[in-house]
């Protein structure tokens, strides 16, 4: 055999191993969720002998998972929307203006530092404040907190995207009679759309997946999100493996589907714009 062919075979083996490494654990959860509990505990079979949807039905029969899902969608959508609307404006200002006290130099940096702080450090004081304001266990508290965390990352990512857009285009629009704000909206924002999409994707994935804040700030299905719902369920049932695996599948499904839809822009989003 030639060296080249050996290399080719080695490549295929390595690639298959990598794919198996990534996929098999998830596949196992899906397979388990489709087995009956009797089959899971007694037969230790690798592949389900008789498929059942009983585990999924049980999740939704108590209706709680429907409200977890609703809460997650509302909280994620609202907080990301707020963060994008406020954050792009701030990012534009930081990218284009010279501000008093050198703010354009350090505000973006400071916001990112806040973002990189361990959430566990902030959650304790945040819990105490939410308690004083009577905001515990509401969607609103999560929306506000997530919006604040998302806006830091929106500013950081969008500032660099705005810097890549030549100033001349806005100037031309303003010479033609646009106000600065109109030029920002009509000219700059559309040009920054790919960056906006990448930023939005990152924010949606991290917000949907967020666990600690939701765990601490919510306590009933009225406000609990999907990750909290899944975690508390498995805390209660412990050995009901069928329900646990179904909860895992349902918990991750919305965000995996979302990722499939935005596949093209995913890489830029997932790496926080560190990758251009």
């Amino acid at each position: 055999m030639t060296r080249r062919r050996v290399g080719g075979i080695a490549w295929i083996v390595a690639a298959l191993a990598a794919i198996a490494f990534a996929v098999v654990p998830i596949l196992w959860m899906i397979l388990t969720s489709l087995k009956s509990n009797r089959e899971i505990t007694q037969e230790t079979s690798l592949v389900p002998q008789a498929l059942t949807t009983a585990n999924y039905v049980s999740l939704f029969s108590g209706r709680e998972f429907a409200s977890y899902l609703t809460n997650s969608v509302i909280v994620t959508a609202a907080s990301v929307a707020i963060a994008l609307i406020l954050g792009t404006q701030a990012a534009y200002v930081l990218a284009r203006f010279r501000l008093k006290a050198g703010m354009h130099r350090y505000v973006g940096f400071s916001l990112l530092m806040v973002r990189l702080l361990p959430p566990i450090v902030i959650i304790i004081p945040l819990f105490l404040v939410a308690q004083q304001l009577g905001l515990l266990n509401t969607q609103l508290s999560l929306i506000i907190v997530y919006a604040a965390f998302n806006v830091t990352i929106v500013v950081w990512m969008m500032e660099s995207f705005f810097r890549e857009i030549p100033v001349d285009l806005e100037e031309a629009a303003m010479v033609d009679g646009d106000t600065r704000f109109a030029a920002f909206r009509r000219i700059v924002l559309p040009l920054a759309a790919p960056g906006l999409v990448a930023t939005g994707i990152f924010a949606v994935i991290t917000t949907y997946n967020e666990f600690l804040f939701a765990l601490v700030l919510t306590s009933t299905p009225a406000a609990e999100t999907m990750p909290v719902g899944a975690a508390t369920l498995i805390g209660r049932i412990n050995v009901d493996w069928g329900a646990m695996s179904a909860a895992g599948v349902i918990g991750a499904l919305p965000i995996v589907i979302f990722s499939l839809f935005v596949q093209k822009h995913l890489v830029r989003g997932l790496t926080m714009g560190a990758v251009k």
Binding site: I19, A22, V23, P25, I26, W28, M29, T44, G87, Q89, A90, V93, A95, R96, R98, L99, M103, L111, M113, V114, L116, L117, P118, I120, V121, I122, I124, P125, L126, L128, V129, A147, A148, V151, V155, E164, V167, D168, M174, V175, G177, D178, T179, R180, Y208, F211, P227, A231, I234, W241, A247, G248, A252, I255, V256, V267, T271, A274, V275, K276
Partner: protein, 314 residues
Amino acid sequence: MATAMTPGTAGAPVVSGVPRTPGRTLRGSGLDRVLPYLMLAPTLFLVLGVIVYPLIDGLRSSTGFYRFGREIRSVGLDNYRTAFGDPAFLDALFTTARFMLLAVTIETVLGLGLALLVARERRLIRRIRATLILPMIVTPVVVGIVFRLIYASDVGLLASLAHAIGLDPPQILSNGTGAFLGLVFLDIWEWTPLLFLILLAGIQSMPVEPFEAARVDGASGWRTFVDHTLPLLRPTILVAVTLRSIDALTTFDQVYVLTRGGPGTSTQLISIYGYQTFFQFQQVGYAAAMLFMVALVVLVAAGFAVGLMRRRPT
């Protein structure tokens, strides 16, 4: 609305004196003078109110002694001193450090290997890449569930595999070393894709000349890797490793679902210990003091990482 940018309102085009380079800053006049501050204010208020104010509040509470969640008296810096005499705190720090070092090292090596494996641009290879990043998208809590279903001593994937080839099922989550290594393996599975993505981008943006020259000189694949790939990739590796380390330092969700810190304290990372100190033991001041010390370490590392990201030509 009149705009200061049109020639005539301010006598001359305001921006005419500024060199025409992208990314330069502007100065307006009239309403445009306050507009930037108006556009910036909502973001600043949101972050100051929701993150910075609670932080300062937390810093204040870290100097208090609490009982049943109420501050009894101020104790100055005692909480900070207590931490260094608290074996559980030091143990959690040590566990976290071991976890971070082991997981991030292996993730970097694997991530680099994967990146080199699929660096070429082909349609099939792009498909493979999309599959490989799946673990980092899956909700962390669900990742915890996935690995409970793998490690479970009676019904888990490993137990079933062992059963199929006639071996005794491995006991992973019931002993300290097993649970710790199980957690490290979980982290490797979940986060190797991130290292892979960042390093892949680094590889693809490397100049081609040194590699062509190496080929002309007849250098071996390994020599080319050591002499050219690694040195060129070093800044990217540094950024990726720092970002991942910051995140690994505060790992919480997966441990919460997989082991809750046990058995014993074998997987009790600092975030889990801090969480329990606050919510189970109600030691508000002590928990805050402990976590602020961790935050200090993170801030230094984060400043370092952000500095690197800024300097990197993109």
